[in-house]
């Protein structure tokens, strides 16, 4: 079941997420809702998909029970702002951010953690 309406491919299950991060070196996942803090991040990801061919971009619904793997991740402890954005390198969380991020911040995280 889809929770989001974006042009970013949405992950629906925890198993699917695990498979994606196992099979791809660099993965960015934005876990959010269709809210004002989340939509800008989805749009930035859409714009960066061509530029960062080495990164796979996905979304996941914050209200999807399966996204508990992100919501309860130790890297997200203390997060109190949507979206929770995860950067995975070789199957491990390389960076996690809370709340809205601008283009510069997202690019910095991609360059610094998923290069």
């Amino acid at each position: 079941m889809n929770y989001l309406r974006t042009n970013i491919q949405e992950i629906e299950t925890a198993d699917e997420l695990q498979k994606i991060i196992n099979e791809n070196e660099n993965v960015m996942v934005c876990c959010g809702r269709m809210g004002p803090m989340c939509i800008p991040v989805y749009e930035i990801m859409e714009e960066l998909e061509e530029e960062y061919e080495n990164v796979k971009f996905y979304s996941m619904g914050f209200d999807n029970p399966e996204s508990v793997v992100i919501r309860s991740a130790p890297e997200c402890r203390g997060f109190m702002g949507l979206p929770f954005t995860m950067y995975y390198k070789n199957g491990q969380v390389a960076k996690a951010t809370t709340s809205i991020q601008n283009m510069t911040q997202v690019k910095e995280n991609l360059d610094n953690h998923l290069a």
Binding site: M34, P36, E43, M80, G81, M103
Partner: protein, 308 residues
Amino acid sequence: MDKIFDVMILGAGAAGLTAGIYTSRGKLDTLILSEGVTGGQMVLTNEIANYPGVETIKGYELSAIMKRQAKNFGCTMKANVKISKYRLSDEVKSVELEDGRVFRAKAVILAPGGRPRSLDIPGEKEFEGRGISYCATCDADFFRDKRLVVVGGGNSALEEAVTLTHFASHVTIVHQFDHFQAFAHAVEEAEKNPKISFIMESELRAYIGGEQLEKVRIENLKTGEMRELDTDGVFVFIGYQPNTEAFNGLVEINERGEFPVDQAMKTNIPGVFAAGDCIAKRYRQVTTSVSDGTIAALSAIEYIRTGK
């Protein structure tokens, strides 16, 4: 790089997208450049129920439709760009992006919109997303049974404070004046809510905490006395400020940071028009931005055709 667009629109909120719909439908070669998200503050609005002709619609859905309309009429759109230089007073206007790309056009419509005002006090950057929020719709459910502070005294502050009491154990409203600017019914709703208390004539001076926000420092503006208040979160609703800083010295800007325009949405620079929340006006609604964008576009079309 040598291409010259007819019209370049800076901003992709309701005003910018509307202007783009009109100029591209008027067969002008149109470029929309946006430093922020497409839709601007429309996407900040959960549900829009007063947009004529549409009973209710999510802000992001209305914005997506406007974007599609502009694209279908032939607009070129680039969002989330960083503009480093503006040349607006030349006959052919140009902007340069941080990555070195230059875009030129015969006329420019400024529609940079506004953004929520922040307090600009110590701790702000550290606790954004860790206790500080500007969006009750987004983050209220992180604060179930927690103590909250709401900063502000307008309609948004009081209405959102009441909404937040559905989640929080207690909400303290901190406001700089001894009275509220909100409508009477919003004040009444807040005052009769047993979960809301008020600290008037006071301002926040610092956000304090460890991994998360734990307290705020508050100054009583009358006595100068400082106190600390334990809280799990702060929601800030102190209005919006126009995104006009980049145009200082290039286009006339008033003391409130707005572009003064005439009825045709002309600024003081020939060929440069402005529309939406960035202009000097009293009411800021999606409908008023749409209206401004329409007028600016029609004026830009006339300018290109007649030079006036």
